[in-house]
Amino acid sequence: MNMKNSKINAFLMSPAAFPLLLGVVAASVVAGTHMFITTGSGAFNDIYVVQMLQAGLDTGDYAAAAGFAAGFLIARVLEGPLVGLLDLGGSIMTGVGIGIPAVMLASGIRWPLESFVASLGLGLIIGVVLGCIIMLIRKLMPAGMGSLGTDVMMGAGNKTGQYLGPLIVLSAIGYSIPAGVGAFVGAAISYWFKKPVAGGAILGAMILGALIPLAG
């Protein structure tokens, strides 16, 4: 099976395919957000970003999610075509998956996010439009702009993830003593087995916190 030079590959590698690919990605991410809004699981993002949307759903105040995620979207979409590397986490998962839904929910437009098919369509449209904008900026901007600090941002982005584990432990201790004990023991076990500390902390807090339900 030699697909290397097939027609479909030639199309996939062409600039015209980019908006379409981005549309498919955005469609799946917005559909994931729809699943999260209706069933409580399925959003594609880091825990703390999804939690921001959850806070909006709980309180009706989407300002944090909309401001953070939509700002991120703009920054990443501007950066992508200039450096030739689009950060999907910032642009699609956070920007399109959390930011745009938060803006829509804040303005009272709920229906596209409450139907699976509509959310797929909404994501597709957003993705294709973004893809076209990115290709347009890329065409207008002179080539060879360099890395423009993408390495700096990636370094910071990776570091961010490391802070979540300790923060969960601190927050669990604030919630209750059993959850706190579970969190730091879980984090320590995770760390010993070279797994992400945040995962062990939240699992430990969930297990002990639910088994011994006494509010600290």
């Binding site: 697909m3 290397k4 097939s6 590959n9 996939l12 409580g40 699981s41 399925g42 825990i47 703390y48 939690q51 921001m52 959850q54 806070a55 300002a63 944090a64 401001g67 953070f68 939509a70 700002g71 991120f72 920054a75 990443r76 501007l78 200039l82 450096v83 030739g84 910032g90 901007m141 702009m145 360099g146 890395s147 423009l148 600090g149 993408t150 390495d151 700096v152 941002m153 990636m154 370094g155 910071a156 570091k159 961010t160 802070y163 979540l164 923060l167 969960i168 601190l170 927050s171 669990a172 919630y175 959850a179 969190a183 939240i202 807090a205 969930m206 297990i207 916190g209 639910a210 339900p213």
Partner: protein, 284 residues
């Protein structure tokens, strides 16, 4: 941007992409030169270039090369090294399966029909090509390689993996007892709000300050404005890094100024739609 560093004698041609974040450019250069492979000397996304200094000229991170058919077998035996490059000794590079560095790195280059040629501005040290029968690191199974270079095949594989993983994850999530889910969200809520503010802004801010004076100043100003207008400094800092780095690398050229103008318009628009101007007016 790239320099041809080897004279073509029997086939192999190597190109070095110097400078910071050269790993970002390897795809472009490989495409342009029709290269058969590219090697990153630096596993940390650009950290190698930070080691560059007056005593360490000729920093590079990526080598792209291509080989004609008669040299196919040699391609697997190649080991590339630059004896004086600080980054080469990095443990991450020693562990990298594609690149093993032999102790002979500092020694004389063995002859495989190539001789290093001086590169202007790259200093006295140049990557050399050595035959190393023990280090057949560049070899990869043919089937995997073909899949990797076929976007359609990668898309199909990714779709299958994604569908399975997503179904499993969401099904598992449904099995988590309600009481546990309550604890999880009660614990994650404060942790994530701490994360958004102030942890993330501080990390991005410090990274921007470490990236140099111009970047630090732009990020500080835009970060402060963003925190006031959008409620979070991170997008502003990201834009500040973008503008600062662009100004550092290209000066205040037309493209840098265009970017500054776009960012200014964005900030004004966001401020307007979030009602920031009413807050300002309320001050007076």
């Amino acid at each position: 941007m790239r320099k041809r560093i080897m004279e073509e004698r029997k086939g192999p041609v190597l190109f070095v992409i110097p400078g910071m974040a050269a790993d970002m450019k390897v795809g472009d250069v490989m495409h342009k030169e029709n290269a058969s492979f590219g090697i990153s000397f630096c596993g940390s996304g650009g950290a190698g270039a930070h080691l560059a200094g007056p005593d360490r000229p000729g920093q590079f991170e990526i080598v792209a090369g291509h080989f004609d058919r008669t040299l196919r077998i040699r391609q697997r035996e190649l080991t590339l090294c630059n004896p004086n490059q600080g980054d080469v000794g990095h443990p991450a590079n020693r562990q990298a399966p594609q690149l093993r560095l032999p102790p002979q790195c500092g020694g004389r280059p063995a002859h495989v029909g190539l001789q290093p040629v001086p590169v202007p501005g790259a200093g006295p040290q140049h990557p050399r090509t050595l035959p190393q029968r023990r280090h057949a690191g560049l070899h990869r199974p043919k089937v995997v390689e073909e899949t990797l270079y076929s976007p359609a095949a990668m898309a199909a594989a990714g779709a299958i993996v994604g569908a399975v993983v997503l179904s499993v994850l969401n099904t598992v999530a449904a099995f988590i007892p309600q009481s546990m889910a309550v604890v999880a969200s009660q614990v994650l809520g404060p942790a994530s709000s701490l994360m958004m503010n102030p942890v993330m802004p501080v990390i991005f801010w410090l990274a921007a300050l470490d990236a140099g004076r111009i970047t630090g100043v732009w990020s500080t100003i835009l970060g402060g404005l963003a925190h006031m207008i959008m409620g979070n400094a991170v997008p502003g800092i990201v834009l500040g890094i973008l503008i600062g780095k662009s100004a550092e690398e290209h000066g205040y050229s037309k493209s840098t100024n265009t970017m500054i103008a776009i960012v200014a318009v964005l900030f004004i628009l966001i401020a307007y739609f979030r009602g920031f101007h009413t807050k300002l007016i309320a001050l007076f």
